[in-house]
């Protein structure tokens, strides 16, 4: 049995809340500040196959772009998140997207997320605008609410599905880890423990 590991990266604003909702199924109104990068992981099933999502939650401030830029390289998918109640976060998408396109592998799946869909009364960016932007740039689009959990599962799982389909089509070279896809043994953590104890007697076989 092997696992497919997909590396998905989150960029822009309000993404830590999305991640927490997806991995822990809870909402924290005041979330920790992300400096550098934080990590989430969750197992999902696509086509009856178990897939492990490894999610990199990167710093949101523009100043950190030169750091986050280097993280695109190992990503199979990315979620670009803006806040529908703040026009400025929507306006910044172009620069983030340019960065993403320039520094990632060309097959990276990008999903555009308009977050905070629960705050309809404070909406500054229309849903149609998000859809138009996505259409224009060839992205998948979805509005979510980290607070009510609306569409959060779908956002991550649809991104993973898209990547999975591309793998099936043979678009991705799955033997190149730089594409953000890795095939590894199940329960990698426990395997490592055993390998450490037994001097790698049996461990050599499965890994690639």
């Amino acid at each position: 049995h092997t696992h497919l590991y997909l590396f998905i990266y989150l960029f822009c604003v309000g993404k830590s809340c999305l991640l927490l909702q997806f991995t822990d199924k809870r909402f924290q109104p005041v979330h920790d500040l992300t400096i550098g990068v934080e990590f989430g992981a969750r197992m999902i099933t696509i086509d009856g196959k178990q897939i492990k999502l490894q999610i990199w939650d990167t710093a949101g401030q523009e100043s950190f772009r030169s750091i986050t830029r280097s993280y695109y390289r190992g990503a199979a998918g990315a979620l670009l998140v803006y806040d529908i109640t703040r026009r400025d976060t929507f306006n910044h998408l172009t620069t983030w997207l340019e960065d993403a396109r320039q520094h990632s592998n060309s097959n990276m799946v990008i999903m555009l997320i308009g977050n905070k869909s629960d705050l309809e009364s404070r909406r500054e960016v229309k849903k149609e605008e998000g859809e138009a932007f996505a259409r224009e740039h060839g992205l998948i689009f979805m509005e979510t609410s980290a607070k009510t959990a609306s569409n959060v599962e779908e956002a991550f799982i649809n991104t993973a599905k898209e990547i999975y389909e591309k793998i099936q089509e043979g678009v991705f070279d799955i033997n190149n880890e730089a594409n953000g896809i890795k095939i590894g043994p199940q329960h990698a953590a426990t395997n490592a423990t055993h390998a450490g104890n037994q001097g790698g007697q049996q461990a050599g076989g499965g890994c690639c």
């Binding site: 990590f39 710093a59 100043s63 400025d88």
Partner: protein
């Protein structure tokens, strides 16, 4: 001023302990009343009555239940709390009497239980006594240290600060009451910032906030290249980040006692250094300084601290230079912890993943605050190299756990360190880290790497390799 300092923490714990024991009093109070109300039955077993009597005699108590207060106080010494009451409940009258052997056996078991309970409670009392003594000892040594710092070291700072004795005392942790002063002196004021300059910067920041909130743009052409929109975004971000700075302390948030101070320092800094501006992570550094210094002095320390080479490299997000720092770190990592280093390499775990957060916030976000302050103490003494030494100390402390983990678990562990990280163990671990590699010190290694990277300039720098 000191919001979180070891003596205060102790006090908190004391209070808590007192509260708990008060609750305990109440409980046993209730318990005794319960038992007291149930009258001993007429036809109760003689044996059990006798046992009860025996124990009451031994304890020198009358057969009626004593006042709970008195009881608890006595028990603090050696009388078990939990078992004496057992005997008061008699065998129900409707059941046949116990055979003699069984009664004998039960008596024996009861006695054993009492002995065990006594042992346990004696041990507990001893532990508590030891804890109290330890606390007194710590408080006394802090008291002594305060005297030494105030009377001997601070008045003779220039001549004494680098002496062996002071350095040793420094490593133990600076007492909270003098911490701010020592930090200020150690950080220095190379930039010659005065209180007046702070006032000027603050006034400009306030003007800017006003003009932005009214939508005006009189200050527009003042510093070209920083558009009003950028500035507005950064002001919004400061506001948002203040609410996310030590949220558990509830003192920096809107309406909290230190909110305005934190806002002022960050705002004034963006006016003082528009070329650097506000960068995430700064709010944590400013907050820790505010807990130890007045606003203007905190601003002076803040600006000078950020002006140090390592901090400038990070807060200007000079990617190339940051990579050089990481490379230098890896030299000492391999030297000190070769096995773990190999494990990290194998799993593609690069130092940026954990170091960025640690260095940007000087550990104040990732370690408990009182422990972070102790790291700051020695950082003020030893400079940037101590930040990287601390990182190695943390890695060494958790080496056994980390070597059993895969990438994602290590990454998650290191970006979210255990909350109960023990201070003494961490410092003991840091103490074993040698900041010397093939006879080269930190600064030498760093300079050499900087020279290399300058020569290799124009290559595409990347964090992940």
């Amino acid at each position: 001023m000191m919001a979180i300092s070891p003596p205060l923490l102790f006090m908190d714990r004391n209070l808590l302990a007192r509260k708990q024991s008060a609750r305990l009093d109440k409980h046993s109070d209730l318990g005794w009343k319960l038992f007291g109300k149930a009258p001993l039955r007429e036809n109760a077993q003689k044996d059990s009555k006798r046992i009860q009597k025996e124990y009451e005699d031994k304890a020198g108590r009358p057969s009626k239940p004593p006042s709970p207060k008195q009881n608890v106080r006595k028990n603090l010494d050696f009388e078990p709390l939990s078992t004496t009451a057992l005997i008061l409940e008699d065998r129900p009258a409707n059941l046949p009497a116990k055979p003699a052997e069984e009664a004998q056996k039960h008596r024996q078991q009861y006695e054993e239980m009492v002995v065990q309970a006594k042992k346990r409670e004696l041990k507990e009392a001893q532990r508590r006594k030891k804890q109290l003594e330890e606390r007194c000892r710590v408080e006394e040594s802090i008291g002594n240290a305060v005297l030494t710092w105030n009377n001997e070291i601070l008045p003779n700072w220039e001549t004494m600060w680098c002496s062996r004795k002071v350095r040793d005392l420094w490593w133990q942790g600076i007492p909270p009451s003098v911490r701010g002063k020592v930090w200020s002196l150690a950080i220095g004021n190379e930039l010659n910032i005065t209180h007046e300059l702070f006032d000027i910067c603050l006034a400009r920041a306030k003007e800017r906030w006003r003009s932005l909130s009214t939508g005006g743009s009189e200050v527009e052409n003042e510093d070209a290249g920083f558009s009003a929109a950028d500035r507005e975004a950064s002001l919004e971000l400061i506001k948002l980040d203040i609410s996310r700075t030590f949220p558990n302390l509830c003192i920096f948030q809107q309406g909290g006692p230190y909110h305005d101070m934190l806002h002022s320092i960050l705002g004034a800094y963006t006016c003082y250094r528009p070329d650097v501006g506000y960068v995430q992570g700064m709010s944590f550094i400013a907050a820790v300084l505010i807990l130890n210094l007045d606003t203007a002095d905190a601003f002076i320390a803040f600006s000078n601290l950020l002006n140090k080479p390592c901090q400038m490299a990070f807060f200007r997000v000079d990617h190339g230079l940051m990579l050089t720092y990481f490379a230098a770190f890896e030299v000492f990592f391999e030297e000190n912890l070769p096995k773990l280093f190999a494990h990290f390499k194998k799993n593609n775990l690069t130092p940026d993943i954990y170091l960025i957060d640690w260095i940007f916030t000087l550990y104040s976000k990732s370690l408990p605050l009182d422990l972070a302050c102790r790291i700051w103490d020695v950082f003020c003494r030893d400079g940037e190299e101590f930040l990287f030494r601390t990182a190695l100390g943390i890695l060494k402390l958790f080496e056994d756990i980390l070597t059993k983990m895969d990438f994602i678990h290590m990454a998650q562990f290191l970006t979210r360190l255990p909350e109960d990280l023990p201070a003494e163990e961490l410092f003991a671990s840091i103490a074993t880290i040698q900041m010397q590699s093939r006879n080269k010190k930190w600064a030498q290694v760093l300079t050499a790497l900087q020279k290399d990277s300058r020569e290799m300039e124009k290559g595409s720098p990347s964090l992940r390799h």
